[in-house]
Symmetry: C2
């Protein structure tokens, strides 16, 4: 049995605190087996072993039950068992079926930051890249040290790294870097380097940071202090100051978000550096890692926006490669000041061989895709795409405003934040990312103005149904995006 | 200037200990710029900031210089600068050039454990898999919880995980796992789970373990005790016992190698568990992670070999997917007892969302390749390949023995260890992995008997040149592979 709930109220097993887990949109329960399976509409939710009380669907009468459950295993129902040995026609059928599904999903997704369709002009002979899958390409170890394994693509990798080093204004012989498996690995690496520079350092990061930053602190066994945010989603430097002053005896490792996941907020780097200075942290007592996320590749192509550059007192930047540049599989670019790498490659007793990357074997395909995409687009092409995305985001914001919806769009950002639609099916259909009362659309290059119009027309129609009786009202989002952007009955 | 050296003697900057870094085969120096660039023939070497004395090439007169240098940046010379925007024909040319190079390198490599040629029968319409690169497939987060992003391949992923769970004898509802970016990430994850189960635990692992195990201890800030090995390369359980008894107050997290990197040695799991018991470690005071490496997928298809199974007191296994199964990019399979995942997903103050994987965004292509390969090969196909590899390894060992070379082949292993050839060019040409005085060949499915014969004939010819005068002698490898296997002048 799979059902949809409007609300699930959770009780943490240990501390009995109730928690509204808003992103859980479906569950499957089996009281007898003492098991409940939950389906989240957020990619990052893992639910395990907590007790809950559930409001029964379609009923005003609330029936609270408390059970604990195991790790949710919700997608096994459709899993593709290995039915070996298989005929070629069976394999082709399966791949064909999924290809069709992915094409359909690619058309509709608005929430995700992934550019699902790899941007290849149709006049290019695509088979050239398809051929790559014939090779096991592995850039095992350090990109700058040629390994014994011959089938590798370091030449492409360093080309890409140099391009980003140039973008963020650090000289070739002053940086070290590598192509990671994604932004999360980059954050883990950057914060690890920070830890090795300052083993006693404390990690500071805003509460709206990507969860991979907090996960890195957990993996790396570091003390982490969460900093409050402004309504925009930026780090609150007043709170940062307060926390720094309380921990003046320990060096600071600061994570700066260059575009938060939900609101696309860009932390004020200059103010953060000034805050560190004001609190008495000299350059040799802080390390700044920038979670480059989506915006660190976009800012250099915009005018009159804050600059993220190694000319400022920053130490590492990581950015996702599969998002704005485009790559069929997750990847990221990690750049750090080379002087810090000494710390990471110092002898640690039992490490005889040294490798400053997180993983050893490394994907040799992603550097080729990135190299290929950057070559084809060129800086001018990216500049054009960035402008188009910003224009489209502005357009979407205006359309949402015009239909009477609450909406916010941060400066220099392409993430449009608005009131969460009340219909699960609509959210699922457009693959909107939702958090609490807000939803967001990341206006990537694949989110064209046609797609925006299609979405807007459907939303206008739906809203007239959802809110027609004057009974149900759009949610208040003043605490999420500010009173000035909220047009709920109370604030309009 | 790039030159080859016979010997490089290194002085560690800090502790002044001299160290023979045998794997460095070339260097580029610029005395004026105070820089030296080094080229390693080992994939895992990262050299930075150490001082050295170098014996000048082609000269009996030794000229020792001591300089410190920065991280070696040796492959920049050939790196492919992004020359944007580029014409399609330029891009095609570059890819074509590299494809040719990779084909050539794929033919010769013997040392690497990567199956470079993706095993596709020529009668299969290859374009079906080539098409995958059109999609950005991302299994972001937990494999068992469907995310909001629609273009994903969890159905394939769980199919593959179930196949391995079945292989290692753990029930579907008793395991949790995911497809990683390679064996190193798997080791990091398995040891992280062990740490969360026993936060005060000490990691024990043999000194011949893969460096990713030591790196995991470093990343995870865990105490790690290195255990001595037998000549075979197996963990020495007498030493393990000694160390365990000295640390009885702390829980034990034991890494077991199911095939060491250099010698393919399989740690004696049963004896290790018995040793834990003998030292008073009850089941609730130890965690065993198995670095499945190459052999954990092979053992289940062999007769009269030790069994690696969750029916024994083990807690997690990780294995590389790109090695024996075959996949164009690095990947791995990670399986752990589901009960331990509670520890990993427990609330850690600042982690609001939870994700038990190391990275967040995850490659959605690798599960499809693995699923595809397993379907096509089937268990019977793998059994046949395993037998063929074992036979070929035995054949290679006999041929090496017959030519008068020192050689060792562990039971149930496909890694043939033998005396290191004295010619760098020969090593490079065959992409042999070398450590000290030994070289090894990993007889993977692509190392056919034809390729072995080609190699053996060339080696016989070369040996007659290298050792013709009776002046130069093959190296003594008694300390590496035992007196009984060494046929150097002293031991033969």
């Amino acid at each position: 049995m799979v059902g949809f709930l409007d609300t699930l109220v959770f009780l943490e097993q240990d501390n009995n605190e109730s928690q509204d887990v808003d992103n859980l949109v479906s569950f499957e329960k089996d009281w007898d087996k003492n098991k409940v399976m939950l389906l989240s509409n957020q990619p990052h939710h893992l639910i395990s072993n907590i007790s809950y009380r559930a409001a029964k669907p379609k009923s005003e009468e609330r029936d609270y039950k408390t059970k604990s459950f195991e790790l949710a295993q919700v997608v096994r129902a459709t899993c593709l068992e290995i039915d070996e040995p298989s005929s070629d026609s069976y394999l082709k059928d399966v791949l064909g079926k999924y290809t069709k599904k992915w094409l359909e999903r690619t058309h509709h997704h608005l929430g995700a930051t992934h550019d699902a369709g790899y941007p290849i002009n149709s006049n290019f002979d695509y088979s050239v890249l398809g051929e790559l899958n014939r090779f096991s390409i592995n850039n095992v170890g350090d990109p700058f040290i040629e390994g014994g394994y011959g089938v590798q693509s370091r030449d492409f990798e360093i080309g890409v790294l140099d391009w980003f080093a140039d973008l963020w204004e650090i000289k070739k012989d002053e940086y070290w870097g590598y192509i990671t498996n994604g932004g999360s690995e980059g954050n883990l690496h950057g914060i690890l380097v920070g830890r090795e520079v300052f083993p006693e350092g404390i990690l500071y990061t805003s509460k709206e940071s990507h969860y991979s930053v907090f996960k890195a602190a957990f993996i790396l066994r570091m003390k982490c202090i969460q900093i409050e945010t402004l309504t925009s989603g930026e780090i609150d430097c007043n709170d940062l100051k307060k926390q720094l002053l309380q921990n003046k005896d320990k060096p600071a490792i600061l994570n700066i978000n260059i575009g938060t996941t939900v609101k696309g907020a860009i932390d004020n780097l200059d103010l953060a550096i000034q805050t560190l200075r004001d609190c008495g942290f000299s350059r040799d007592r802080f390390y700044i890692h920038c979670d480059g996320a989506l915006s660190s590749i976009m800012l250099p192509f915009q005018d009159q926006v804050p600059r993220v550059t190694f000319k400022k007192s920053i130490d590492s930047i990581s950015v996702s490669g599969h998002k704005f540049v485009g790559c069929p599989m997750p990847c990221g670019i990690q750049i750090a000041r080379i002087e810090h790498m000494k710390e990471l490659t110092n002898d640690h007793d039992y490490i005889a061989t040294r490798d400053a990357t997180i993983t050893g074997s490394r994907n040799g395909h992603t550097p080729i895709f990135l190299w290929f995409a950057l070559n084809r687009k060129g800086k001018q092409g990216i500049r054009t795409e960035v402008k188009q995305c910003l224009d489209n985001a502005e357009h979407l914001k205006e359309r949402l405003k015009a239909m009477g919806a609450s909406v916010m769009l941060n400066k220099a950002s392409i993430i449009v934040v608005f009131e969460r639609p009340p219909e699960k099916e609509f959210i699922k259909r457009w693959q909107l990312s939702c958090t609490g009362n807000i939803a967001h659309i990341c206006v990537m290059p694949h989110v064209t103005s046609d797609k925006i119009n299609e979405f807007v027309i459907e939303l206008i129609e739906k809203r007239s149904t959802w809110y027609k009786d004057g009974g149900k009202q759009p949610p208040c989002v003043a605490s999420d995006i500010g009173k000035e952007n909220c047009v709920c009955p109370l604030h309009k």
